[in-house]
């Protein structure tokens, strides 16, 4: 999905690095990467290290890092183009749950055009000259607060993922649940764990994407860009 933009912006000196937050690693992310056939580094982050290090809580998220290794925009929603789901039509034979899900997804706040416009401006601007590159103190201020609960959730998620890899899914689920309790608005912790549970999801976690998005507010799922 990013390959096209990468081709356009690489000659200007911008590299794109993608990070797949997939607890099952290349097993699940691999087919998508192969299909995209990217020229850029395509990393696998099974334990969601970028959540702990940068404060990522949802996907897609973008972080800008300048030539000197300084973060100039902390994590924020990053859509390379308008997603197809915004234009879906509810089929006449859709079940009530399907209908609700489609309508909820269509209501998500997506600003692909503004984001890509800002990215193009930054890519072509000399260092320090982009209106979208933020000062160091503003970058820190705009990154997420890190209370002890959320710092602890990162440990529970990483441990859950490692236990899952060891073949002890019941122990893994207990740590994923604790990560969700401590950091309820982290969608990468929730959705990856739900995906691992497959058909057992409801029994293991007793909630769903629809329930959680409604509880948190659909407008908060992708917060407005502050460009």
């Amino acid at each position: 999905m990013w390959q096209e933009l990468r081709r356009e912006l690489r000659p200007q000196g911008l590299e794109i690095v993608t990070v797949a937050l997939d607890a099952r690693g290349a097993e699940t992310a691999g087919p998508w990467i192969q299909k995209a056939a990217p020229d850029h580094p395509s990393l696998i982050d099974e334990g969601h290290l970028v959540d702990a290090l940068f404060g990522v809580v949802n996907v897609p998220s973008g972080i800008w890092i300048d030539e000197e290794g300084m973060v100039v925009r902390p994590p924020e929603p990053a859509h390379p183009r308008r997603p197809d789901y915004l234009d879906r039509v509810v089929p006449p034979d859709a079940s009530p749950v399907e209908r609700e899900r489609i309508l909820l997804v269509k209501a998500l706040h997506v600003e692909a055009e503004r984001y890509v416009g800002a990215l193009r401006e930054w890519a072509s601007a000399p260092r320090g000259k982009s209106r979208y590159a933020l000062a160091a103190d503003e970058v820190v201020r705009r990154s997420r607060p890190r209370p002890i609960e959320e710092a602890t959730a990162a440990a529970h998620f990483a441990l859950g993922q490692a236990l899952y890899r060891r073949g002890v899914p019941s122990a893994a689920t207990a740590h994923f649940r604790e990560a969700h309790r401590l950091h309820p608005t982290n969608w990468t912790y929730r959705r990856d764990a739900w995906s691992l549970a497959g058909p057992e999801r409801d029994a293991a976690y007793g909630t769903s994407w629809i329930d959680e998005v409604k509880r948190e507010g659909v407008e908060n799922y992708y917060p407005p860009l502050q460009l």
Binding site: E15, F54, S195
Partner: protein, 112 residues
């Protein structure tokens, strides 16, 4: 950040967390936190967890320990990008610092 023992060799600890032992304590980039290890070769995760305010969660039965994020303040303690070391899909290890001199858009995505 996962470990398979609760007492970790110093070089493994530095590789996984980015925090290195120096005369002034534990340092990552320009930040240093006072800390003295009782054993110069091994890091006790429980002690370091307190010093760095990185919560420690363990499962001794399965021999796994995880350090969480650094608590307090904001997710980014400074605008200096933390080192990120992850496997590349093509094999090998990628380090964010290898792209110094280039603007980077780091994109988090998922298949789920």
């Amino acid at each position: 950040m996962i470990f398979t023992t609760s007492r970790v060799p110093v070089d493994e600890f530095a590789r996984v967390t980015g925090w290195r032992f120096k005369p002034e304590g534990l340092c990552r980039g320009e930040r240093c936190v006072p800390f003295r290890s009782a054993d110069p070769a091994l890091v006790d995760l429980a002690a370091v967890s307190v010093a760095l305010t990185m919560p420690l969660v363990g499962d001794a039965q399965h021999g796994l320990w995880a350090l969480g994020a650094e608590a307090g303040g904001r997710a980014l303690k400074s605008a200096v990008a933390p080192e990120l070391e992850l496997p590349d899909f093509r094999g090998g290890t990628f380090r964010l610092s290898s792209l110094r001199g280039t603007k980077i858009l780091l994109v988090a995505w998922a298949s789920w």
